[in-house]
Every structure is written in structure tokens, then in C-alpha cells.
């Protein structure tokens, strides 16, 4: 049971609402649905305090008109569907989930769909527990939330006044400011990894273990084989393209150090649900990314803190320190020409309008991407 449900039951009981409705027929399906929802979690949040991620939040989904959450940037197709009267209910959600792009052509949702009837029914039951119409908990939770600020104010007012002269001043440093960080606090935040392995947690994971974790959490944006969907980053391939007109900079073709993969996945991925994977999960994912990049070829390969620094990425040697100052246009430091600097009048050799990718409020799709 999710934290939100527990809170909701608790709040519901306090408010003497019929909390028992939660425990009936739908509960079993909802529990199964919570597992199915893992496929959705990379992009959608639901539950207490859920906000929009890559996709809109799914609280109070049932009865909501499609494309109506104000601060979420929907596709034009989804907004049009809502304006055309699409309201999310058991039936419309079930149809949408079979294949989103079939039902709403042009939707931004890259998810291929849930093909099993049972999965769809379960995830719908699960989502319903977060809709006001699907249970009694929503109003009760809102009430308990609304009470919070008042309680804080009271506590602040009740705190006894401390006289300035009685405040303890630490002895460290020059200005005697701040307090000593505790080891538990440092451990909670100090998650960075270096190429020499400093910072790696104890743990392990295999390519085979990484595959389903990748499929559930990463493939929706990065593609089944790390090829990237839409403009999301490409993770694999691109070997020997760095000197080509269109280089493909991937972990295998460009990144110098494997430690960067572990560090970045652990601190920032999955996008919108950071710090949700275990250390072993991250080892398994890192192993799987090595496999997608042909750095390892054995599905049983296990990556751990013990063999981590044995792995080297192919492009490690091709980075060097900034030497812009040695480029002729900087090194010369010569006085620039002011008069009669060109023999011929300047001619236009290229115009922006030939490409015309300046934003115009519509779908002027241009070239290139940044992440």
C-alpha cells in the first residue's frame, strides 16, 4: 500500500468517514495495479503532493477532461481531444491504454500501451484510489493538508523567546558560523563518484538484472536499445562517428569514464523520479548500458564496486585540457584592421531564412537539440 493510501486511511479514520470502502473488491486489483504502474512511473506521478513530470500527474484523473491540467504542456492533439469532449473514465482510459497513439493521434505520450486486459484493469483500479470519485479519501486528505500551516504558526508562537546574550556561539572558524555536519548527514548527501572509484557504494548487478529495470524505467525515453525516442538522449551506438559530419555522442562513443554513468543515473535518473533506484539497481543498469554499448558482451556479466575500475570506455584518451589561448586568433593579439580591410565588397553567403527554424508560435520544427 502506498504512503498516500496509508495517510488517506489514517486521515479518513480520524474524520470518521467510512474508511472501510477502501478495503473492498477493488483493493486487490489496486495492489496489482501498483506494480503495473511501475511502467508509468518514469513519466507520471500520482499520490500525495504528486506534480507533473514528463506526463501530467494522475490525481483525480477520473472525471477529468483530457488536456485540462493548466500548467502541463499537452500536445495539441490531447488539448483538441479534451475540447472535443474526451473525459477520462474507466472506458476511455482502458481504450487509451491499449495504444495511446491509436486513440489520440499526435499525443506526446511515447508509451506503447498495456496489451493485457488484466494489467489495464488493475492499473485503472489503482489510479482510481487517487481520484475523489474513486474513494472517500481525497476530501479528508485535503482537510488534513489545509490544517498544517495553522499548526506550524501556533508552534512558532508558542516557542519561548531566547535572549541574544544567551545564544551559544561555536568556536570554529573566523566568523563562528554554521554548525558541525553529522556523519549521517554527510552520508545522506555525499553520493558522488569519481573515475578512480572513490564514492562507489558496496553493491553489484548483472546485465540480465539490468534489462528489466531499464525496460521499466528508461526505455520510454531512451528507447529499447538506447537509441533514444524523439529528442531524448541516445545512449548507445555512434562508434567511430566523432569525426563525421553528424557525430553521435553516446556512452560508448564519447563518454570518457564509466563512473559518470553510475554517478549520473544515481543522482538524476529516472528523469522525474530521481534517487528511487537502489545501489544494486544502478549497478545492474550500468552493466546493461555497457552491454548496449558492446563494452561487455556477456549477459551474465556482473558489475560491482570490486571490478568497476577495471572497465574503461573506448574514448577515454581523446579528451585534453582547454587550449583555446593557443589558437591563432587569440595567440596573435594583433591590432585588428580598421580601414579598407577587404578588397571586395562583402557578399552574403548564407541566410537564416534558407533554414527558417525561428520559433513562430506554431510547429516550426528546426534542427538540432540540447539536453
Amino acid at each position: 500500500m502506498s504512503r498516500f493510501l496509508k495517510l488517506a486511511v489514517f486521515a479518513g479514520a480520524l474524520a470518521a468517514l467510512p474508511a472501510a470502502t477502501l478495503g473492498t473488491a477493488q483493493a486487490q486489483d489496486a495492489d496489482a495495479g501498483e506494480k503495473v504502474f511501475r511502467k508509468c512511473k518514469a513519466c507520471h506521478a500520482v499520490g500525495e503532493g504528486a506534480g507533473n513530470k514528463v506526463g501530467p500527474h494522475l490525481n483525480d484523473l477520473f472525471g477529468r477532461t483530457a488536456g485540462m491540467i493548466r500548467d502541463f504542456k499537452y500536445s495539441n492533439a490531447m488539448k483538441a481531444a479534451g475540447e472535443g469532449g474526451l473525459v477520462w473514465d474507466d472506458e476511455s482510459i482502458a481504450t487509451y491504454l491499449i495504444n495511446p497513439k491509436d486513440m489520440v493521434k499526435g499525443t506526446k505520450m511515447a508509451f506503447a500501451g498495456l496489451k493485457k486486459d488484466e494489467d489495464r484493469a488493475d492499473v485503472i483500479a489503482y489510479l482510481k484510489t487517487f481520484s475523489a470519485g474513486g474513494g472517500e479519501e481525497a476530501p479528508a486528505t485535503q482537510e488534513s493538508k489545509a490544517e498544517e500551516p495553522e499548526a506550524k504558526t501556533e508552534m512558532a508562537a508558542a516557542a519561548p523567546a531566547v535572549m541574544a546574550k544567551d545564544v551559544a556561539v561555536p568556536e570554529h572558524g573566523v566568523f563562528h558560523l554554521g554548525r558541525e555536519a553529522l556523519n549521517e548527514e554527510i552520508a545522506a548527501w555525499d553520493i558522488d563518484i569519481r573515475p578512480d572509484g572513490t564514492g562507489l557504494p558496496v553493491g553489484r548487478g548483472t546485465v540480465a538484472q539490468g534489462e528489466p529495470i531499464y525496460a521499466d524505467n528508461c526505455a520510454v525515453c531512451h528507447g529499447d536499445f538506447g537509441e533514444g525516442t524523439g529528442r531524448w538522449p541516445v545512449l548507445a551506438g555512434g562508434h567511430d562517428t566523432l569525426t563525421e559530419e553528424r557525430p553521435e555522442k553516446t556512452i560508448g562513443s564519447y563518454w570518457p569514464y564509466l563512473s559518470t554513468v553510475y554517478d549520473y543515473v544515481r543522482r538524476a535518473m529516472p528523469f522525474g523520479n530521481a534517487r528511487s533506484l537502489s545501489d544494486d539497481d544502478v549497478y545492474a543498469l550500468t552493466a546493461y548500458l555497457l552491454y548496449l554499448n558492446d563494452v561487455v558482451t556477456d549477459e551474465d556479466f556482473e558489475l560491482s564496486n570490486e571490478n568497476f575500475t577495471d572497465i574503461h570506455l573506448p574514448n577515454e584518451e581523446n579528451f585534453f585540457m582547454d587550449d583555446r589561448a593557443s589558437e591563432p586568433h587569440y595567440a596573435e593579439k594583433s591590432e585588428p584592421c580598421m580601414k579598407d580591410c577587404k578588397a571586395e565588397p562583402a557578399k552574403i553567403t548564407m541566410r537564416a531564412r534558407v533554414l527558417d527554424v525561428t520559433p513562430e508560435g506554431e510547429d516550426g520544427e528546426g534542427a538540432g537539440a540540447i539536453e
Partner: protein, 433 residues
């Protein structure tokens, strides 16, 4: 999709429909230059009703004080906003938008118009819940609250912040029509904060301390390796911009200021600084913010932002609407190495150059405002600006940069920008021989 300069992938010719949409977007006044520039003509014969008739705002009372407790710009300035280029990124949570440089003057960028670059969306943090930790190679690891930070001696400094990818879409040639898009990943703000070295000294640096790893509290937990010398030289931990609290999108309640160096290092929502003896080689200093050269090798740690300038007016979003006669060309110049010593302007595509007039404060690692006032005869112009800094660095041409680096560097494109001004006053982004 790692690079931002693939101009010919989806290139398509401009249609008439697109011309009109663009001109409208460029701010109303842009409807074919001279057509909209007719306001001055009325006095030839017919009296101007704006003068002869009593206007509503001259008769009726306006809103009282407190009707706008936090003041906002005039409704007639509603087009002056940051804009994004939607096709650049997969998702707005990890994306960028652009400062409307062509609508601004002087050297300070208003807080609400400073371009945004986030890697995990805007973190919304109650300052009472924010902590800054310093640990690693220090005598005593420390935790500071915001209240603690504000008790260190404060400084006020004006610095530009430029994204290393500013102008990155222009490596393969002229692509975007407007200095907002070609050069708008820069802003210039007066920061109030405390010297980073005060915080480090408070914790006490160990003799082998050489590098810092600042980290953000946002959903990307942004990190960059910063050499200790820079931190001890001029880095600030800032909590105010232009006198008021940092905006959430600029790192409220506290950010790192790394003067003259690429914007990605100015970690927002700063919550942790680890002190170490080696760099960390994290994602934003390996996969990103490294400069790929034509031979397949790549520069790393290209921190300093290069000497650079751009004419902001006239430019494609800000055409000349008044016809020939007295005309002001203005723009911005900056260098991560220090002060700007000179800016030259050409109106004939670089055959002859004229020293521009720098006006307003000339501060190290800050934007400089320049003007070139001249009598336009109405003929076509190819206008450029060229900045020099106090160390003798001269802004190179785009061709010079390409000949050394190729076209796949993405970052650090400080090449000279050309606008083609037509006889009707409209302007276009071009490259010239």
C-alpha cells in the same frame, strides 16, 4: 541527440504565411519596417489628435497605490518576454529559454527576463528548509542555514552569466532570426552574496584540497568540478539579484556565482560543496560542456567565456522603422577575462570599422553597452560588432573559429555576428564573405 547544430536536417523554405507570423511575433512594429514607421508623418498638415484631444488617461483617475503590490511592466510591454525554441529539447523540464536582448538597454537584465536553463525543472524551496553543507578535505565539515550565510560579510558585484551553448545553433551557419535566439543565453545581474572563500575558511581547508564539487538541490542534483584557485579568487555564494531575492528559476534561495565562467557551473539551489583533491568528471563536464573538434578529440574544462559582442538593435526582431537619417546602432559586449577595452562597428560588412561609444559602467566580467550613432542614407547595410578585452583578446570571425575547431563544438561560439539590414529597415541573420 547531443548536439544543437544540425541546420540542414529539417530545413525548409520560408513561406509567405511564415513571414507574416514572424513579423507579428517580432513585436508589431516589425510589419515591413517603414510601413509601421509612419507615426512621425502626421504633423505634416493635420494636427495630431493625441495632442489636440483630451485623452482618457488625462481625465480619469488611474489605479491607486497597492493596486500592484509587486509592480509589473506596462501592458504595452507584454511582448517583452523570454521565449524558447521548442524543437531544441525533448521536454521543458530540461530545457532553455532566451533573454529578449533586443528589447533591453543599459547593462542590467531585469530579473524576470533572465534566460532560464534547468536540468530537472525549477526547485521550489522554502529558505527555512534549505541547508548548505561543506565537507570533504576540511578540518570541520559544516552545515549552514540561510540565516548563517547572511551573517558573513556581504559584497555586491555585477557579472554576466552566459551559457556555454549560447550561439551554439549557429556553428554550421546562420540559422535563427533574432538576437534573442542567437545570443539570448546571457544575462547581467548585480549579485549580493558572500565570498565563497569565507565559507571554505570557516570549515578550514586541508593542505591537499584542490577541487570543489558544488551540488544543487534540484531534481538533477547538478554538479560541476571547480578548481580551488577560482573559488578562492572571486566566486560568490549569492542570495540576491538586482537587490531582491533570487528568482526561483535562478536558484532561490542561494546559488553559486563563478564570474566569467560558463553558466552551467553557477550551480543553482546550492546545497552542498565537497572539497577534494581531483576533479569528479561528472556528466556536465564529460558528456556535455566538452568541445568536440574536427579530428574527433575534445577539449575539456573550457571554463572561461570568450570575448564576444552582438548588435541588439537593429536586428531581425527589431528592424529600423523610421527610415533614413539619424540612426542608433546598439549592442552588448563582454569577456570572461575581464573588462571590454573597445568595441568596433562596421556597416559595410567589415571593410571599414568605427570605434563604438561604450556607455554606462565598464566592469570586469560584466556586459558592456555600446552605441554607434550615424546618419543612415537608406542603403542596405551589413552590420557587425567586434569586441576587444583588456588582455588584447579580439573577437574572432565565425570562419576563424570553424577553421580551427570544425563545426561540431556546440559550445563557445563567440564568432562575429552579421545582420543584413534591407532598404525597408528589416533585418536578417546572414553570413558574408
Amino acid at each position: 541527440m547531443s548536439d544543437i547544430n544540425k541546420p540542414d536536417k529539417d530545413g525548409e523554405p520560408m513561406t509567405n504565411a511564415k513571414v507574416s507570423r514572424r513579423r507579428l511575433l517580432a513585436g508589431g512594429a516589425a510589419l515591413g519596417g517603414l510601413v509601421a514607421g509612419s507615426t512621425a508623418a502626421r504633423a505634416a498638415g493635420t494636427p495630431d489628435p493625441l495632442i489636440t484631444e483630451i485623452q482618457d488617461w488625462n481625465r480619469y483617475l488611474g489605479d491607486g497605490v497597492d493596486s500592484r503590490p509587486y509592480g509589473t511592466p506596462s501592458e504595452f510591454e507584454s511582448h517583452v518576454v523570454r521565449r524558447d525554441v521548442a524543437w531544441l529539447t525533448a521536454d521543458s523540464k530540461s530545457s532553455v529559454n532566451f533573454t529578449p536582448l533586443h528589447e533591453l538597454d543599459g547593462i542590467i537584465t531585469p530579473n524576470g527576463l533572465c534566460f532560464e536553463r534547468h536540468h530537472g525543472g525549477i526547485a521550489e524551496i522554502n529558505p527555512a528548509d534549505h541547508r548548505l553543507m561543506i565537507h570533504g578535505l576540511v578540518d570541520k565539515p559544516l552545515v549552514f542555514t540561510m540565516e548563517d550565510l547572511k551573517r558573513f560579510p556581504r559584497e555586491n558585484r555585477v557579472y554576466f552569466l552566459e551559457c556555454a551553448a549560447n550561439s551554439g545553433m549557429e556553428w554550421r551557419g546562420a540559422q535563427l532570426n533574432g538576437c534573442q535566439y542567437t545570443h539570448g543565453m546571457v544575462h547581467n545581474v548585480m549579485y549580493t552574496g558572500v565570498q565563497l572563500k569565507h565559507l571554505l575558511n570557516e570549515a578550514g581547508l586541508k593542505p591537499n584540497a584542490k577541487w570543489l564539487l558544488p551540488e544543487g538541490a534540484d531534481a538533477s542534483a547538478m554538479t560541476r568540478s571547480v578548481p580551488l584557485e577560482k573559488a578562492l579568487d572571486d566566486c560568490l555564494v549569492a542570495f540576491k539579484m538586482n537587490g531582491e531575492a533570487l528568482r526561483p528559476e535562478q536558484g532561490y534561495p542561494v546559488r553559486l556565482v563563478v564570474p566569467g565562467w560558463e553558466g552551467n557551473m553557477w550551480v543553482k539551489w546550492l546545497r552542498r560543496i565537497e572539497v577534494g583533491d581531483e576533479p569528479w568528471h561528472h556528466r556536465e563536464e564529460t558528456s556535455k560542456y566538452t568541445d568536440l573538434l574536427a579530428n574527433g578529440t575534445a577539449r575539456r574544462f573550457t571554463w572561461e567565456m570568450d570575448v564576444k559582442s552582438v548588435i541588439t538593435n537593429p536586428s531581425p526582431q527589431a528592424p529600423i522603422t523610421h527610415g533614413r537619417g539619424q540612426t542608433v546602432i546598439t549592442g552588448l559586449a563582454w569577456s570572461g577575462a575581464g573588462k571590454i577595452s573597445r568595441v568596433d562597428v562596421t556597416i559595410d560588412g567589415g571593410r571599414n570599422w568605427h570605434a563604438a561609444r561604450v556607455d554606462g559602467p565598464s566592469l570586469s566580467k560584466s556586459l558592456h553597452r555600446f552605441y554607434f550613432d550615424f546618419d543612415w542614407d537608406g542603403s542596405e547595410l551589413l552590420i557587425q560588432s567586434r569586441a576587444m578585452d583588456e588582455h588584447g583578446n579580439v573577437q574572432p570571425t565565425k570562419e576563424m573559429l570553424r577553421s580551427v575547431r570544425g563545426e561540431n563544438s556546440i559550445y563557445h561560439n563567440n564568432g562575429i555576428q552579421t545582420w543584413h539590414v534591407r532598404g525597408d529597415g528589416s533585418a536578417e541573420n546572414v553570413e558574408i564573405s
